[in-house]
C-alpha cells in the first residue's frame, strides 16, 4: 500500500533564483504542476525575497544556489519568521557533495540538483510536495527515478521515516528498506547490499514508496549520506562514460558503421573539475586546464559570433583527433588514434 499524505489545499511558496530565465521556468512549471494550487512568489534577488517574505507567511522556500559562496544559513535566518516555521529547499547547479553537506548543515530540509528538464522539474516538484505533506495528483504517486529517487531517499532519511522503496519496470526490479532514517537493506534481482543499492540507481523504471516492513536480512550498515553519495557518483560516472562513448562514436569524417579510431585517452570531470573517470590519461591536470581554457575562450567569442552554445572543440591531429567538451556540468576529454597504420 502506498504511503498517504495529508491534503493541503494551497501552499505559499517563495522561489529565489538570480538567474531570471531559470526563475521563470521554475515559477511556470511548479504553478502548472500544482494545477494552480501553489501560491508562488518569485524573487530574483535576496532583497526582493525578503520584501515578499515580510508580506505573508511562507510555507516553503526554494533557494536556487548558483554560486557556492552564498551563505544559505544567513539567508534562511533573515526571512522574518523562525526558520523552523517553513520548509527549506536548496537547489544547486552543479550539485556537489560539499554544497549538499553545507546546505543541510545550514538547515535545509532538502537538497536537490537544480532541475533542467521537464522530467527533472516533475521529480523536484514531487520531492518538495512530499516534504511539505502536499498530496500530489494520482499520476505523481510513482514516477521515473533518477534524480527523484535520490531526493526521495534523502527526504525519508532526513525525516527519520521507515519505509520501503520499490522500483518497477513491468515487474519489480528491487527494493530499498529504510528504517528510522537509516538504509538497512537493498536487493536487486540476485544481488543485495551496496552493489544492489548502486545498481538500482542505474536502472530505468518507476518507483513507489510503501509502508515499512521488516526485510529478510540487513545488508547495509553505512550511513545513508555515504551510500547515497556513492550511488549517485556511480550513476553519474556511468552516464558520463556513456556520453563519452557517444562522442567517440560521432566519428567526424568516419564512414557509417566504420570505427572512427581506437580510444587512446579519456578524462571525465564534473563541472567543477572533480575527476569522475580517467583512463590512460597521464596528465589529467593538464587536460583539465585545457578544458577550462576552452570554456573561457568560448564564453568570450559566443556573444560575437552568435552561433549558439559551444558543443565541442575538435582537434585534428596528425594521426587521430581529440574531442573536448566543456559543459557546465561535465568536462570531457577524449583522444582517439586512427585505426589505419600508414605505410
Amino acid at each position: 500500500m502506498a504511503k498517504e499524505n495529508n491534503i493541503e489545499p494551497e501552499l505559499h511558496v517563495l522561489i529565489v533564483d538570480d538567474e531570471r530565465d531559470d526563475l521563470a521556468i521554475l515559477d511556470d512549471s511548479f504553478r502548472a504542476l500544482s494545477e494552480g494550487r501553489w501560491h508562488i512568489d518569485a524573487a530574483d534577488s535576496v532583497g526582493e525575497a525578503l520584501q515578499i517574505a515580510k508580506k505573508g507567511k511562507i510555507q516553503l522556500v526554494v533557494l536556487a544556489v548558483n554560486t557556492p559562496v552564498l551563505d544559505v544559513s544567513l539567508l534562511f535566518s533573515s526571512f522574518g519568521q523562525p526558520p523552523s516555521q517553513f520548509k527549506k529547499v536548496v537547489m544547486a547547479s552543479p550539485a556537489t557533495d560539499e554544497m549538499r553537506a553545507a546546505s543541510l548543515a545550514a538547515g535545509a530540509d532538502l537538497f536537490i540538483e537544480k532541475p533542467l528538464s521537464p522530467e527533472g522539474l516533475k521529480a523536484a516538484f514531487a520531492s518538495m510536495s512530499e516534504l511539505v505533506g502536499w498530496v500530489l495528483p494520482q499520476h505523481f504517486q510513482s514516477g521515473s527515478h533518477g534524480v527523484g529517487m535520490a531526493d526521495l531517499i534523502q527526504m525519508e532519511c532526513l525525516a527519520r521515516n521507515s519505509s520501503v522503496l520499490e522500483l518497477f519496470h513491468e515487474h519489480s526490479l528491487g527494493r530499498i528498506y529504510i528504517e528510522e532514517g537509516q538504509l538497512i537493506h537493498a536487493v536487486c534481482g540476485e544481488i543485495s547490499g551496496e552493489r544492489a543499492f548502486q545498481k538500482l540507481f542505474t536502472l530505468t523504471g518507476t518507483y513507489e514508496l510503501h509502508n515499512f516492513e521488516l526485510p529478510p536480512e540487513r545488508t547495509l550498515n553505512r550511513t545513508w549520506e555515504f551510500l547515497l553519495g556513492e550511488a549517485v557518483r556511480y550513476r553519474d560516472s556511468l552516464n558520463a562514460r556513456h556520453q563519452a562513448s557517444k562522442i567517440l562514436a560521432s566519428g567526424h569524417g568516419a564512414v557509417a558503421g566504420e570505427p572512427a579510431g581506437k580510444a587512446a585517452e579519456m578524462l571525465i570531470c564534473s563541472g567543477i573539475g572533480e575527476v569522475l573517470y580517467r583512463w590512460q590519461c597521464p596528465d589529467a591536470a593538464g587536460r583539465l586546464v585545457l578544458l577550462q581554457e576552452i570554456a573561457r575562450r568560448a564564453e568570450k567569442i559566443i556573444p560575437e559570433i552568435q552561433l549558439g552554445k559551444l558543443d565541442r572543440l575538435e582537434i585534428q591531429l596528425s594521426a587521430g583527433r581529440a574531442v573536448l567538451q566543456p559543459r557546465a556540468d561535465r568536462l570531457i576529454f577524449v583522444r582517439v588514434e586512427d585505426n589505419l597504420v600508414k605505410p
Partner: protein, 115 residues
Amino acid sequence: MKDNFKTWFAALPAVPGMLACGVRRPNGKCAAQGDDNNYPAVKIEKLLGQFADFHEPLAAAELSPRWTTWVFEYGQLRFVLRPDKWLLLLLVSPETEAAQKLDLLSEEFLAGPVK
C-alpha cells in the same frame, strides 16, 4: 603563387554556407571577408587575433593540431595554422557544402604556399 592564393581566398565566400573567412599573416596583418551585417571584416580580424596563439598551448600539451574546429549549435569555426604561421579562419553553417568542404579547404591551405 601569391596570386594563386589570392584567387583561392577570394573564391571562398562563394562556397554555399560560408559565413565568413579570414587569414592572418605571420606579421599580424589580416584579410577577411564576410557578411557586412553579421560578420564584418573587423570582427573576423579580431577573432583571428584572439586565436593566433591558441595552437601553442595545444602543442605544449602534446596535441599539435593540423586544425581545430569549434562546433557550436548553429555553426562551426575552423582554424588552420600552417608551420610558417599563416592562420586561416573559416566560419560555416552546419550541414552545408561549406561544412562538408572544411577538411578539403584546410588541406588546400596547408599544402599551398602563399608566398
